[in-house]
Amino acid sequence: MAIEKPYLDIPGTIVFDADQARLGYHLNQFAMSLMNADNRKRFKADEDAYLDEWGMTHEQKQAVVDRDFNRLLALGGNIYFLAKIGATDGLSYVQIVSSMTENDADQHAAMMIAGGRSVDGNRYLHEWEDRP
C-alpha cells in the first residue's frame, strides 16, 4: 500500500521527503561540495566538466546550468543544499528565494516587509487552478 502524502496537496511547494531525496541524492551532494572554496573555483571555471564528476541525470545538470531552482526542486533538490549553488554565484537568500516566485528580489523584499505572502488562497492546489 502506498504511503499517504497529504502534503502533495500544497500549491507551489515540493516537500523534500525520502522519495525526493532518493531522486536528488547526487544533485544535493554536488551542491554540498560547493561549501569548499577549491570546488567553487573548479565549478566556476568549467561547470560542465565539474558536473560530469557527479552521478546526476542530464536534466539535473541542465537545470543547474540554467539555475532553474524550481526545476531543481522537482528533480530532488533541497533548498538548503541548492542555496550553496546560489552562494557560489554570490547571491543572497532573498535573491535565490525570489527567483522561484513571480517576483524579483526587490519586489520580494517589499512583500516580506509588508507582512509576507498570505496563506489565504495558498493552502490547497485547487486554489491555484485558475493560475496561468
Binding site: P6, Y7, I10, P11, G12, T13, I14, V15, F16, D17, A18, A21, Y25, N28, Q29, A31, M32, L34, M35, F69, N70, L73, N78, I79, Y80, F81, A83, K84, A87, T88, Y93, V94, V97, S98, M100, T101, E102, N103, H108, M111, M112, I113, G115, G116, R117, S118, V119, N122, R123, Y124
Partner: protein, 289 residues
Amino acid sequence: MSARIAAALFMSHVPAIGVASDLGKTEEPYWKPLFDGMQPARDWIAANPPDVVILVYNDHGNAFSLQMIPTFALGMAPFYEPADEGWGPRPVPTVEGHPALSAHIAQSVIPAGFDLTLVNEMTVDHGLTVPLTMMFDKPDAWPCKVVPLAVNVVQHPTPSGRRCLELGKALRAAVETFDDDIIVQIWGTGGMSHQLQGARAGLINAEFDNRFMDDMINDPEVLAEVPPVEYLREAGSEGIELVMWLIARGSMADLAGGGSPGEVHRLYHVPASNTAVGQLVLENGTVTA
C-alpha cells in the same frame, strides 16, 4: 545536589539575524525594531545566567550532508567550531560543550526509548549560533556551555510533535539526575512561519504563529498532536522547524506535576529576511495553582 532546569527558551534562528549582528547593522531601520524587541530577553538572561544550555536546533546541510540523516543527534564534544556555510564561518566564538552532561543524557535518554545518534565531532551552523547571538550579543567568549541537540527537520518524515514533546520530558528526567549543582536551560529554536522554496516562497502566517505561541505556553499536550502537514500548509515548508520548540517545552515542570511556567518575555516580528521571528522566555514552575 543535582542539576536543575530553570527555564525554557524558544526562538527563531534566522541566518540574516546573525549577519545583521556580525556586520554591525543592528541600528539600521530594518533591524532596530527586532534587536530592541530582543533586549528584554538579553536583560533577563544577564540576571539569570545558565551554566549550560541544551540547544535544540537543526543543521541546514552544513555539518551533516545527506550521506546520513540522524533524526536526533546529540553533541558529545568539548568544542564545536562554527561552520562555513558557503559565505565563510560566522565570526563568533567557538562553542564550548559539556561532555559529562552529554554522556549522562545519552545514558539516561536512550534507555528511556529515544534512540539518539551520538556525535563526537561536528561543526555548528547558524541554527545553533544565531540563538546564542540573540541572547548574548557579541561577547569574546560565550558565557555558558552548550549541549547541541540537532533534529532532522530537513528531510521528511521528521519526528512528530508528540515525539518531540516526549523527548523533552526524557531530557528533564536526565538533567534532574545529573549529580552536579548546575543551572540548565533548554532552548527550542527554528521557525516561525517561513517558506524558502517554490512559487509559494515568502509565506508568512502571523495568526498561526501567535496561536502557536499561545498553545506552547498553555496547551502543549494538545499542540503536540498537530500533524506535520498542518505546519507545512499553514506555516510554510520550513515552518516545520517549529516542532523543535516542543522538545524544550516538554522539559518544563508542569508536565511532570510541577507548577505552571511563568512568561517572562514574548516577541513576534515580521520579517527577518524571509521569516517571521518569534521569541519566548518561560521560567520553570513559577506559577502555582
